[in-house]
């Protein structure tokens, strides 16, 4: 890889890469995002390679197989995009490779059965699919398009052009002005205006000359969230470019990306991207002949959720135990090694090159005032089209779940959506018209968070959901301050009692008061936001809490101590599947005659319900 010495070199290289690329040559983009990988996408791309090799196609006509990052539509994996045909295949299996090569790549015909179909319509191109139609990809502009292991691919997609523009035509002060004017806010959850943060750090650096640091926070740890992971895996150069621009604006020479150890692929892709950028001279000394030096180092986190909190992250970077310290002083004043430090989420960093390229006015025109731009969400749970989405801010919750997500399978409406991960709130169906932006979400008691979105249906129990998130946070609390260390455990004790039908109406009020004490009294945001699931579920679903403690019933049919399984004799066809699957062997009945469950031996595992082919098993 040759070093790029200046901006002219960079543009010359980009042009030569474009010139070498034949637009007629077929390109197969196999999604290797987390969802597709789990469904065996690796085998799909291997199958393509094997088939192409076996067919002995002439080298210049050979289709190019690209293993890309996440395309987003995870529930339909493995996803394959084919250019120049603009075809989009879903649920591709390794055995489909032969047919695709034969019919599509060689003859240009679509394989109808692999096209995505919804309500009787088959869609040829991904841009026509309803899941993608309301989305707008800025952060994920290249994820799913480029091969993240090849910097040439990123360059062809326009990477590092904003860096060249920033370094050669803009002053650091101008960059901060542009970021501030764009209205970009921190994507990690706090939502602090990015430009203002940079300005404070730059002012502190001037007052107190010396080293300044920039940090990319990729310590994503929310259950059900994979936004940062996908970004780091699918387009690591977007993060790097953003960080280099930020470093230039602040006069920093050293950056760190903090990634959790549980993301080996993200670490691998980032490491490769850094090595390639360094080899090309886009990182290191005298970047693009501007006299600006900057390098990035990856730090692997040991899997502590609290290390996503910036002061705990700094402690971890410095080699101390990952425990938060009280702010102020904020890291922009006194951060890593006591020096001004800018910590932004990797998604925030990935927005920066686009803002530099297209200008602050363009960015500010997206979304809504005070929450500009787009946000990436991982849409998961009881929703038909689960996956990774990027939408303009201000879109309503209902639009996301019903139009992009395709609604709840088998039910006409969702029950609630948990936004913002375990520290977020549970927003009920009645508030489905809530715009998804920082301020509207906090008004209804939730948070934007880093972008987890978990959809629940009528078969979910809010008490159980709150318990689940609290268990997670109890394990992840660092234990430094008492309200968090003891409080999460104590709230869980209340909920455990409710789930058993114990407790009283007064206890619900007491739990609310305890939740408030923890929210107000905790040291950092982990404890400060941990009660959100309880506060919101008590607020919006008080009747369900009452059903547990007063009527000793679980309306969702989840809390094991409060439910019984039974078989409807009218529907049961006596197939015996439940008898064979029951781990307690407590279902009896003759063949082709209605079966019965012995409630005294039943452990309420729900296996019978899951296997029943005629839905005869009921829970109440």
């Amino acid at each position: 890889m040759e070093r790029i010495n200046n901006v002219a070199d960079l543009e010359a290289l980009r042009e030569s890469l474009h010139a070498a690329h034949d637009p007629e040559r077929p390109v197969v983009r196999v999604c290797l995002g987390p969802g597709c990988l789990a469904k065996g996408a690796n085998k799909v791309s291997q199958a393509f390679r094997a088939v192409i090799k076996a067919k002995k196609i002439e080298a210049s006509l050979q289709p190019l197989i690209k293993e890309t990052g996440c395309h987003g539509f995870c529930s339909q994996g493995t996803l394959v995009n084919l250019d120049p045909f603009d075809l989009f295949y879903v649920q591709v299996k390794p055995e489909d490779a032969e047919e695709i090569v034969e019919n599509t790549l060689l003859k240009g015909q679509a394989v109808e059965r692999l096209l995505y179909g919804e309500n009787g319509t088959r869609y040829r191109s991904s841009s026509e699919v309803p899941f993608y139609q309301m989305q707008q990809k800025i952060v994920l502009r290249n994820a799913g398009v480029i091969d993240p292991l090849k910097i040439e691919d990123a360059l062809m997609a326009g990477a590092y052009a904003s860096l060249a523009k920033a370094l050669t035509t803009m002053t650091p002060e101008k960059i901060i002005d542009v970021i501030e004017a764009s209205g970009l806010r921190g994507r990690g959850g706090g939502g602090f205006p990015t430009g203002r943060k940079w300005r404070i750090a730059a002012a502190n650096a001037r007052k107190n000359p010396g080293s300044v640091y920039v940090v990319g926070n990729g310590d994503e740890g929310d259950p059900g969230a994979f936004m940062d992971r996908t970004l780091m895996e699918g387009d690591p150069h977007a993060v790097l470019e953003g960080m280099i621009i930020g470093a230039y604006a602040l006069g920093s020479n050293q950056g760190y990306i903090y990634v959790r150890m549980e993301y080996p692929l993200a670490i691998r892709h980032l490491t490769l991207a850094i090595e390639q950028a360094r080899a090309m001279g886009l990182l290191g000394r005298n970047i693009l002949d501007t006299g600006f030096d900057f390098d990035i180092q990856i730090n692997r986190g040991a899997g502590a959720f609290v290390c996503g909190e910036e002061t705990a992250l700094i402690a971890s970077l410095e080699g101390r135990a990952g425990e938060p310290i009280p702010r102020p002083p904020y890291p922009a004043e006194k951060g890593l090694w006591g020096r001004p430090t800018i910590i932004n989420n990797v998604e925030t960093w990935a927005n920066v090159p686009c803002i530099i390229e297209k200008g602050p006015d363009w960015y500010a025109s997206l979304g809504v005032p005070h929450s500009t731009g787009t946000k990436v969400f991982s849409l998961v749970g009881k929703v038909k089209n689960s996956g990774l989405i990027e939408v303009p801010m201000g879109i309503t919750l209902g639009q996301i779940v019903d139009e992009i997500g395709g609604g709840v399978p088998g039910q006409d409406r969702f029950k609630a959506v948990q936004t913002g991960g375990p520290s977020g709130g549970c927003i009920p169906y009645e508030l489905k018209d809530t715009p998804v932006d920082y301020d509207s979400l906090s008004k209804v008691g939730s948070i934007m968070g880093s972008g987890g979105m978990i959809v629940m249906d009528q078969r979910d129990c809010v008490v159980d959901v709150a318990r689940y998130f609290l268990q997670f946070l109890e394990e992840e609390s660092c234990g430094k301050c008492l309200p968090c260390r003891l409080g999460l455990k104590s709230m869980l004790e209340f909920l455990d009692r409710f789930a058993k039908g114990q407790g009283s109406q007064e206890d619900i009020g007491e739990l609310h008061s305890l939740a408030r004490a923890i929210m107000k009294g905790s040291l950092c945001a982990l404890g400060g936001t941990a009660p959100n699931p309880i506060l919101t579920t008590v607020k919006y679903f008080e009747d369900e809490y009452l059903a547990h403690v007063v009527e000793h019933k679980c309306p969702g049919g989840v809390c094991r101590d409060l439910i019984t399984y039974s078989i409807d004799p009218e529907i049961c066809n006596g197939c015996g599947l439940c008898i064979r699957n029951c781990p307690q062997e407590c279902i009896s009945g003759e063949k082709k005659k209605s079966h019965t469950i012995d409630a005294s031996a039943c452990i309420r595992c729900g296996q019978c319900m899951d296997v029943c082919p005629v839905d005869a098993v009921m829970v109440a």
């Binding site: 502590a304 135990a321 009280p326 109890e474 394990e475 992840e476 609390s477 660092c478 234990g479 430094k480 301050c481 008492l482 309200p483 260390r485 003891l486 409080g487 455990k489 104590s490 004790e493 008061s513 305890l514 408030r516 004490a517 923890i518 107000k520 009294g521 905790s522 040291l523």
Partner: protein, 213 residues
């Protein structure tokens, strides 16, 4: 000179004086107080004899803000925040409330949880009683436990003695005061500082486990 003018002159004189003496003026429970730059709210309150309960605070070591018993409500410009007074620097014009409803709610819950977490501590029982908390609804898992994991002993060993024989090990609900590898420390000089500063008497039990032989 008119009364109005006199009033104004008095005010400017007052403002000038305030500017010159470098003191920071605010109120605690409505009482006007003055503090030096760099003082914490807790230090100021103690200076004026205003009572704020603490567990993990000791003037000989850096405050850590972990027990949260010293929380106060700070009201300014229409905003209200609950902060730990031991680590909050004083701010001019802020109205501090040491016993507001929100503050008492935090304190009472922390004390009730402490009763379950440190049932063997007489000091905690007495402190809780002062705030009207005499029983706990939460499960007592370790009846012999008296340690709130406030880390005061660890900080004293480090900052005052300069030895670092003990540390806070593990995380979250498993947090504990311990010496490396759960062995008795070889660095400990048996000075007893940890015993002296421990606010709950827990160190008396722990000392034989962590101190040098």
């Amino acid at each position: 000179m008119s009364a109005k003018k006199a009033q104004k002159a008095k005010e400017t004189k007052k403002a000038k004086k305030e500017k010159e003496d470098g003191l920071i003026r605010f109120t605690i429970n409505g009482q006007p107080v003055q503090a030096r730059e760099g003082w914490t709210v807790l230090e100021t309150a103690r200076q004026y004899g205003i009572e704020i309960p603490t567990l993990c605070f000791h003037p000989a070591v850096q405050p850590m803000g972990s027990c949260r018993l010293c929380v106060v409500e700070a009201r300014q410009n229409g905003f209200s925040r609950v902060v730990a007074s031991c680590i909050s620097p004083v701010q001019a014009g802020v109205a501090v409330l040491t016993h507001s409803e929100e503050v008492q709610n935090v304190r009472r819950w922390v004390l009730e949880m402490l009763l379950a977490a440190c049932p063997a501590s007489k000091q905690i029982r007495e402190l809780a009683k002062e705030y009207g908390v005499t029983s706990t609804r939460f499960t007592v898992e370790h009846p012999e436990d008296a340690c709130p994991r406030c880390g005061l002993c660890v900080r004293a060993c480090d900052e005052v003695v300069g030895v670092r024989a003990i540390s806070l090990g593990n995380r979250g609900i498993f947090k504990e005061v311990t010496a490396p590898y759960h062995q008795r420390s070889t660095d400990c000089i048996r000075c007893g500082t940890c015993l002296y500063v421990c606010p709950t008497g827990a160190m008396e039990q722990l000392f034989p486990q962590v101190s040098s032989e």
